[in-house]
């Protein structure tokens, strides 16, 4: 896939994807990056991911805590807040409508 286009798409939804992953359970930055990649969204660089996490934290959609890692230094864990759950619920409905609209147009073009 066109890397630039994929990056552009991701910019618009990365915060929601992160919220969605955190709705499954608390996690830390690197694990989130791996989960995103495993979902097929491609490699997310730390320089892109952590500023998004900071914005989510600042806007109160996630809370954070530090937990000792297995033998290593403490890791910063993120947990979705009730406000985050609300935003996620609302946005998933909007996204479904939006993606459905895009999909309808694109499939119509290719079907011809």
């Amino acid at each position: 896939m066109d890397v630039d286009r994929r990056a552009q798409w991701l910019r618009g939804v990365l915060d929601l994807c992160v919220l969605g992953l955190l709705a499954r359970g608390d996690s830390y930055g690197y694990e989130l990056a791996q989960s995103l990649q495993a979902t097929g969204l491609g490699a997310i660089q730390g320089g892109t991911l952590y500023p998004v996490l900071l914005r989510l934290q600042r806007s109160g959609l996630v809370t954070v805590y530090w937990r000792e890692g297995g033998g290593g230094p403490a890791r910063k864990y993120y947990r979705i807040s009730p406000a985050g759950v609300g935003v996620l619920r609302e946005a998933s409905g909007q996204w479904a409508a939006f993606a459905g609209g895009v999909g309808a147009i694109l499939s119509e073009r290719t079907a011809r």
Binding site: G29, G47, Y50
Partner: protein, 274 residues
């Protein structure tokens, strides 16, 4: 770049971008953890330290954007200042009021009278009409000059400190501390051997010695690199938060959203601070 070097550079850049020490510590620890887990090279995972620090600062809203304290008493009031050089009128009915805890920016094209106006506020240039009230002590940083060629930095600190009633030892200590905030460790070189940018750091340190109530700064960052330029604005925010009144002449407009008062001396503007 090795991890430790990149992380140390990130620590510095976060400070420069106004990220507080607690948050900066967390950001660095988190980045270190990510690099350890992923085994990636820092530049690949996060990019250059200054770019990543800027992204972090952006995400947390940057420094001192919110007004924490209401403006205090009036420290500087310039009313209807008019100045002519020969037949040319440089300033015509210019007014500016700055309270304690405020930063005012004086902007305008070259030749619009910015430095003249600041000189009048400092009492160094006479006005043809109007009046200036200053309440409190004043520190002034000129665009150039202002240092003595054959004196070392420490001797400047002692000399200017003496003028403001600061004992020699305290003045030298205070000067070194302020210099460190601008990423400069003064040695025993005479001022004439310092680079232009370092002489401006010296000027800026001298302006702040003894914590004057009013700081008048005339484009004090000439010759500063990008990092020192950011350090300079952090000094300005610290002064503001400490209740000083700060007036900065500048032709750089990207800091204007963070100042309290803007006086635009460009032709066609009223010359009255908004």
């Amino acid at each position: 770049m090795r991890h430790e070097i990149w992380l140390a550079a990130l620590t510095d850049e976060l400070r420069r971008h106004g990220v507080g020490p607690d948050l900066a510590g967390h950001v660095v620890a988190e980045a270190a953890g990510h690099l350890r887990d992923s085994g990636e090279a820092p530049l690949r995972a996060f990019g250059p330290p200054d770019t990543y620090a800027a992204a972090v600062a952006d995400s947390v809203g940057g420094p001192a954007l919110a007004r924490s304290v209401p403006a205090g008493p009036v420290r500087l009031r310039a009313v209807d200042i008019t100045k002519r050089y020969g037949r040319r009128t440089v300033l015509s009915g210019v007014s500016l009021t700055v309270h304690a805890g405020q930063v005012a920016a004086v902007v305008g094209a070259n030749g619009s009278g910015k430095s003249t106006f600041l000189g009048i506020c400092a009492g160094l240039v006479g006005a043809d009409a109007g009046r200036v009230e200053l309440h409190g002590t004043v520190g002034y940083c000129p665009q150039a000059g202002g240092t003595a060629d054959f004196l070392q930095a420490g001797e400047h600190f002692a000399l200017i400190g003496a003028g403001r009633g600061v004992p020699r030892e305290a003045a030298v200590r205070d000067g070194a501390r302020r210099a460190a905030a601008l990423d400069w460790a003064p040695g025993d070189a005479q001022a004439r051997h310092l680079s232009g940018g370092t002489r401006q750091k010296l000027n800026l340190v001298l302006a702040g010695l003894g914590d004057p109530d009013v700081l008048l700064l005339d484009e004090p960052y000439q010759g500063f690199d990008r990092g020192t330029y950011l350090d300079f604005w952090h000094e300005v925010w610290r002064w503001r938060d400490a209740g000083r009144a700060v007036v900065v002449v500048t032709h750089l407009l990207n800091q204007l959203d963070r100042v309290d008062v803007v006086l635009d001396l460009s032709a066609g503007s009223s010359g009255v601070a908004a």
